[in-house]
């Protein structure tokens, strides 16, 4: 059982900027939560506080009920996929994947056989078998993306964090990877927090979405519920109106030829 709770979490950067305000949020076991909001609303900040890359300036973050505010990043048992992938350029794909396993400490420490078994497993799952000896710069964007995903998953993280993992891919590949991420989640059941500013991505992936604006939580519920019952004007315009506009555009586009025929 994995659960994550944010209790009244605040983040104020050194320059005094309040990036996150009184955020209270809970993520259930095996849930796929999407953090959605416009650029600069504090999504990445929230995720990075949970990951331990950014100090919390107020409130508590709990994983499995335990307060982790001051736990080092590596000790929290999380996996993270960065927008820029952040693969280690000097290591082969195999070493990129196994690095986290080799760094495990204490009772988690793994022996060589177990490490190579796990790397093989994850490489198979993500169809990376043929590329294990290559360096990251020899891979395509989509493959790098999968390595980044694999590197986060291979440690069997309690929670998988993804910060706009698909924004560097072209539309076709994004669509494909989106399906793959959801499939992986259903297969592995890893609790996942996914950050995006793309409404469609959020709607298709999420079990629940948390909509943020200016560092404050606007609504936290199932995606369809947010669409049908927006909590306030911001959600109405950012989510509902945006999707309606998209649908209208699409409809207009496909109606035209028929009208001409008539």
């Amino acid at each position: 059982m994995v659960s994550v709770e944010f209790e009244q979490v605040n983040k104020q950067y050194e320059d005094g900027f309040q990036a996150v305000q009184n955020l209270t949020l809970d993520i259930k076991d095996k849930e796929f939560l999407v953090l959605l909001g416009p650029s600069g609303c504090g999504k990445s900040t929230t995720l990075r506080m949970l990951a331990g890359l950014e100090d919390v300036t107020g409130g508590n973050i709990r994983i499995d009920g335990m307060k982790v505010n001051h736990l080092p990043a590596g000790a929290r048992g999380l996996g993270m996929v960065f927008q820029s992938y952040a693969l280690y350029p000097h290591m082969s794909i195999h070493d990129n994947l196994s690095f986290g396993l080799r760094m495990m400490k204490g009772t988690d420490k793994l022996d060589g056989n177990e490490i190579s078994k796990r790397v093989k497993e994850i490489a198979q799952l993500l169809e990376l078998d043929d590329h294990l000896d290559k360096k990251p710069k020899e891979l395509s964007g989509g493959q790098r993306q999968r390595v980044a995903l694999g590197r986060a998953l291979v440690r069997r993280p309690k929670v998988l964090l993804m910060d706009e993992p698909l924004s560097n891919l072209d539309a076709e590949l994004r669509h494909q990877m989106r399906n793959e991420i959801r499939r992986l989640h259903d297969e592995l059941g890893t609790t996942t927090i996914y950050v995006t500013h793309d409404q469609i991505e959020a709607m298709t992936l999420a079990d629940r979405i948390a909509i943020l604006d200016k560092g404050e939580l606007q609504q936290h519920c199932a995606p369809m519920e947010a669409y049908h019952n927006p909590a306030n004007d911001f959600v109405r315009s950012f989510l509902c109106k945006h999707i309606d506009d998209l649908v209208d555009t699409a409809n207009a586009l496909f109606k035209k030829p028929e009208e001409v025929n008539e």
């Binding site: 890359l53 590596g74 000790a75 952040a86 280690y88 000097h90 986290g100």
Partner: protein, 415 residues
Amino acid sequence: MTNSDDMRWWYVPLEIVMLRRWLVAAFIMNVLLLAVDYLRAESDLLLLGIISCLLFAALRASLPNVNDTLRRDISLVLSAALLGIAVYRLLRTDPTIFNIWIHCWSLLPSGLTLFWLSGRPVTVWTSRKLSDSAIEYGLMRNANLSKIYHATSTHITLLHFVAITVIPLIWIIDIAFSEGNALGGQIGDSFTTEHFSKILNGDSFWTWFRNSLIVSIGTALLGLFIAIPAGYAFSRYKFTGRDASMFSFLLVQMFPGIIILVPYFMVMKTLGLLNSHLGLILAYCVTALPLCVWMLKGFFDTIPRELEEAAALDGCNQFQVFTKVVLPLSTPAIAVTALFSFLAAWNEYLLALTFNTSNDMYTLPVGLASLISSTGQAWGDFAAASLLVSLPVALLFLFFQKFLIDGLSAGGVKG
């Protein structure tokens, strides 16, 4: 209609295009070369040289335009005159390589101008209204030839640079292998290895060599040991006095070495570090550090922070993040920095001369200088020793070449 008129204006035979540039170069070179005639105090040749320069300027100004036979004829006359003067000047001087090279700078441009201006493409271009197909052909010809002409001019320029660097070297090599210790004589007129054997068999050279090696390697290692953490801290952390200390690093560099020489000497004397390797190593580190720290900071700045964050999430502590991710990525920059401080120490003369009073502690540059004064201008020995000193450096460069290029074109971590 307008189209082909436009083309008529646009089309200039490549010969003219090249001459417009090359004649400027020829003019500048000839002006510079006047200095040779001046130094040789040959007044009539100097006068001819000045006339040549003026003629080159006139020739460049009179290069023809389209449908301009008059200017073409003037140019032809000018270049013929230039060619005549050049041949006369060549015949007047001794036929050494240097003289021939000098006169090539007026011979070749004037000859080429004469040849090209009287050639068919320019003749047709200046005398007639070209048909469309002729222009099309001319443009194609330009495109094909321009690569060759550009390559030629690039190579001539590069050859000059190579000569500038290589000739002194050849000179030194020749002196080192010539008999006797005097300067002069033709290149390659005698051959002996006496200077080398004398130096290599003497005790002093190897003592100096050892001293230089210890001091230079010590400087490189100690320098890296301090500069790597310092550069990393400057690149990654914010702390009080960060900017001030970065600036103060530069401040030290603003003074010429001779100003800090006396304070250095006092410090070393108080610490009892005169005539010791450590004293020199410390002094060299202080001088080399600012640049090393700045260079490494610049490189660390190009390593994305996210890489370190990923490593932190993979379970590394701060030290492991540094050793397992940052350091391996920085090898090129570290190699360049090490090489830099090594060379600075290897070639340094002033401090080494001041701090060390005994022959046992001399480094190579100091030892070599003593060779000249003590044995009375032993140029042959000196040249041989210089070559022996440069050899390790040359080898080092050869070995580090790949790193150097990587290190200088830093920021290769993206993607």
